[in-house]
Symmetry: C2
Subunit: 182 residues, 2 copies
């Protein structure tokens, strides 16, 4: 039931926005009684937070094939695909500066922290193997996901695997070139 | 009068969104008669388009001090500062996927094209001087402005000159490292 309610919330937040979605419609879409939603999430902001976090967890992992370029490009493609789902559009809504309440900011911070932690673990392995110098993983996360968000949000063209590869190659090349001990 | 109306529109779009702002309030804030707004901009979308374009023109220039790293970092800092003004917040509103109409997309495309053209002129000079290899300026624009938009939108910390310098150094380092004839 929890999963159904969160999925319904994501769809309605994506359509109506964080301030616009209604509990009645969440219940209807999830096929549950309205009181089930109210009882478990008396607070709208907690319902939105749980919805976004459940989505973000699924996307916060970086594989280890032994090739850091490939693994980061795969991560970026998965993230871009995720942004096109109702969960992802709900997340983009939450990122709107005009809609950001302090609780929404806390959720966004947790989501970014999850993402950065997943990248950090993979970067540490890469550094141990000598594939890359030690690097600030929050900075690397911004460098690779910033251009992706821009392309996805602009919506003029799809974000492709070639885009992901090109972004990762330039960022890793630049990190190697600018590393203090390179 | 045109400038006053566009400034008032920017402020109201920043506050109420592209679909929420009202002509009556634009006229009141601009200190003009309502018919002056309606007569010159019978179409809401044209009023929003002119507002965004007038802002974007001011920011679409890259100086030439002879140091491409410094000039791109300055460009990025000016852009980030611009995003904190009412014009900038109106632009971020227009970038919201859920609000994008085909005319809004055309305006956004024109704004990005202006920005890319300014960067392209500066990159050509840099390439002529041997500072950088020839580079796809649309790609470079995405690579440097994507992380900046992410930091500004997240709103957790201010975007600083040190951020701009670090982004530009990694991107230019990566472009040099991955250039076919490097």
């Amino acid at each position: 039931m929890r999963a159904q309610i969160l999925a319904a919330t994501a769809e309605l937040v994506a359509r109506d926005g964080i301030v616009g979605f209604r509990y009645e419609e969440v219940a209807e879409l999830a096929g549950v009684h309205k009181t089930s939603v109210y009882r478990n999430w008396p607070d709208r902001e907690e319902l939105v937070a749980d919805t976004l976090l459940s989505y973000a967890e699924d996307l916060a992992s970086v594989a280890d094939t032994g090739d850091i370029h490939r693994d980061l490009a795969d991560f970026l493609v998965a993230l871009a695909d995720g942004l096109r789902t109702p969960f992802g559009r709900a997340l983009e809504q939450a990122l709107q500066p005009t809609l950001q309440s302090p609780p929404a900011q806390q959720v966004l911070t947790r989501i970014f922290d999850q993402r950065v932690a997943a990248i950090r673990r993979r970067l540490e392995v890469a550094a141990d193997r000598g594939e890359l110098p030690r690097v600030d993983s929050a900075f690397l996360a911004e460098m690779i996901s910033g251009p992706m968000h821009l392309i996805v949000n602009r919506g003029v063209r799809p974000f492709t695997r070639a885009d992901a590869k090109r972004i990762v190659d330039v960022v890793l090349g630049g990190i190697r070139a600018t590393a203090p001990h390179a």
